[in-house]
Symmetry: C2
Subunit: 383 residues, 2 copies
């Protein structure tokens, strides 16, 4: 983050899940009001707004804000596939860091129920997608390659889902609140071999918001600073042929660690883009939480579970908290803030001081990622 | 613009019009390559990209760039209705001004032919829009109110179209290249009384791009600096009842003039959001080119024609150059740069040193504007 220090001073979100009766505007308003109240910031103090949505209507951010009377400041809607929310958050951070405004609001909204359910639709003109290379199919291919390369088997893919559900059962904002067993995950309906239904994130509705400020707000005993804010698009120098490695995530992580002056060993927990269980294993490696090929060891030794060395997705992640596309990246920020404040209840990561959040968007029809966003948040020492 | 000075060092666009045979990606690529070549900047030097599109597919910017090999840097897609392109340009300006990158690319892409033609579709759930209060209907209401308040008549509405076509006939990038007469405009098919077909902008396809840099590029004899970059959303304190006044434009203009340290009298020409002819009259007043109620006088005395005191839309504007939604704001920047460089050929505004560009997006179902963007560009004195 070049420029002034930037703090996340308030967060709020709706529970994720099916909200067929609510409009996207209502979901967004709930999140915005909660974040403003959490920060103790009046709507009139907001200098700029960024709204991430993957499938929302034109003017989604303005539609949310209008009924709140939060009108006047610049509002920009951002679309970056599954990184729409984190891309919006990054621009809010920059708006403050650059000195343009003292208070910015990031918002993510998605109402996938409005799309009718099922996998996310292939874009018009997307030849590969329209003949079946949709999200689950693509990640099934990556899973096959990863299993082949590492000697892992379906049980490992299932263990990620079991962990996500175990964590998410403790999270009142999660789409699913019930743990599942290994056998349930392995025995669930096959979606795209080897990925069963319970190895795929659900299509959820929801919204999340974060208030970003140039200084801690009055009374904030645990100011949380944005230590890194990185966005990358994928390169394809090898044609994306090594499907078991995420070059984009690795590159974004390297930039984020450099910006924060930290390394993977300094991260106390992470919220990671586990759209499918295979992703999480790949990202353990690309984020540097273990050596390449070491993900199975981390998983088998429960090191990424609550209580482990580096808990991943204490919220339940996309698999269990849910994945309302444009809201996910901002929801990760909410979880990071609650954890760093020590307010995460039964799912608290004890003594957490440094959090990493990660989303990747795109991937169909190409292995490449349209947009990988990584943020590092750090609790400041108060003296 | 807070932060470092920012220059527009290269621009490029496709001709606007019907490009049914071209993909949005191809249109975008043509514009990007032209802008990079114009700036003499290699694709690898681009540090960040913003892509404006109103109706494009998810990942539009990344789709455009992938086949150019311009992969790796952060790419963010921006949707702000008719201000999508100018909102993208503003974020490119901020990326450079803030010191984040030295070179940023702004891109606007739209392929309205893909939507099937006719007026822009009402958003799902937009009750007023779905029963007929679409763009032409809304601006017809504003026109009625304006005619009532000022004593203007349909002839004035037609004169704006005649001027636009006269200018645009000189612009090789324009959708329409043929002048029209007052009688042709008045006698055209009625779309929404009092607006005839020729008083409404066409639905066009096209793309435009601009390269933004922290310093003039080598050999740039006429560096063009961004003197103001403003985005506002509308407020509705009076419920939008005075339909003949654009509060949002007036507020954005006041901010832009203050940022540039200039006033309306310093503006040598302007590119203004004339989606319908009535708009241009309202914006003369809101931009301060005349007193409130003075627009008819400006028009009648040809002061906003080429050769007049303050030429408006020398490009032909939305009415004649065309209006591919997400591309329009960036195309205005292209026109401003060409004019300030003295390279606008038959439509050159002689001696132009200061240009203002203006887009407004939204307005349906509400009179309020979702996003009004104003930029002021200024040719620097070289000593």
């Amino acid at each position: 983050v070049s420029g002034r220090p930037v703090y996340v001073s308030g967060v709020g979100m709706t529970p994720f899940g099916r909200h067929r009766e609510s409009s996207p505007e209502q979901l967004g308003q709930t999140a915005v009001l909660a974040a403003l109240a959490d920060a103790g910031v009046a709507p009139g103090a907001v200098g700029e707004v960024f709204c991430g949505t993957g499938y929302g209507l034109p003017g989604t951010g303005q539609r949310v804000l209008r009924d709140l009377g939060l009108t006047g400041p610049p509002v920009t809607n951002v679309e970056n596939a599954c990184s729409s929310g984190s891309s919006a958050f990054r621009l809010a951070v920059r708006a403050v860091a650059s000195g343009q405004v003292d208070v910015a609001l990031a918002l993510g909204v998605e109402h996938l129920s409005g799309l009718g359910g099922g996998t996310l639709p292939a874009a018009k003109g997307d030849v590969e997608g329209s003949v079946g290379l949709n999200g689950p199919a693509l990640y099934a291919m990556r899973a096959r390659r990863y299993l082949e390369a590492t000697g892992a088997d379906s049980k490992h893919l299932a263990m990620v889902a079991v962990k996500a559900r175990r964590h998410g059962a403790l999270n009142p904002y999660a789409h699913f609140r019930k743990p599942v067993s290994l056998d349930e995950v392995l025995g669930a309906r096959m979606i795209s071999d080897p990925l069963t239904l319970l190895m795929c994130c659900p299509t959820s509705d929801g919204a999340a918001a974060a208030v970003v400020t140039a200084a801690p707000v009055p009374g904030d005993a645990t100011p949380i600073r944005v230590a890194a804010s990185v966005l990358c698009s994928g390169v394809e120098e090898d044609g994306g042929r090594d499907m078991s490695w995420s070059e984009t995530t690795a590159r974004a992580a390297a930039q984020a660690y450099a910006a924060a002056g930290l390394g993977p060993a300094d991260v106390d927990f992470a919220e990671v883009h586990d759209a499918f269980t295979i992703n999480e294993l790949m990202y353990y490696e690309a984020l540097g939480f273990c050596e390449r090929g070491g993900a199975l060891g981390l998983l088998e030794h429960d090191e990424t579970s609550l209580g482990g060395r580096i808990p991943v997705n204490p919220s339940g992640g996309l698999l269990c908290r849910g994945h309302p596309v444009g809201a996910t990246g901002v929801a990760q920020i909410c979880e990071a803030v609650w954890q760093l404040r020590g307010l995460a209840g039964d799912r608290q990561v004890q003594g957490a001081r440094v959090a990493l959040t990660h989303t990747t968007g795109g991937g169909v029809p190409n292995l490449d990622h349209l947009a990988c966003a990584i943020h590092i948040l750090r609790k400041e020492d108060r003296s």
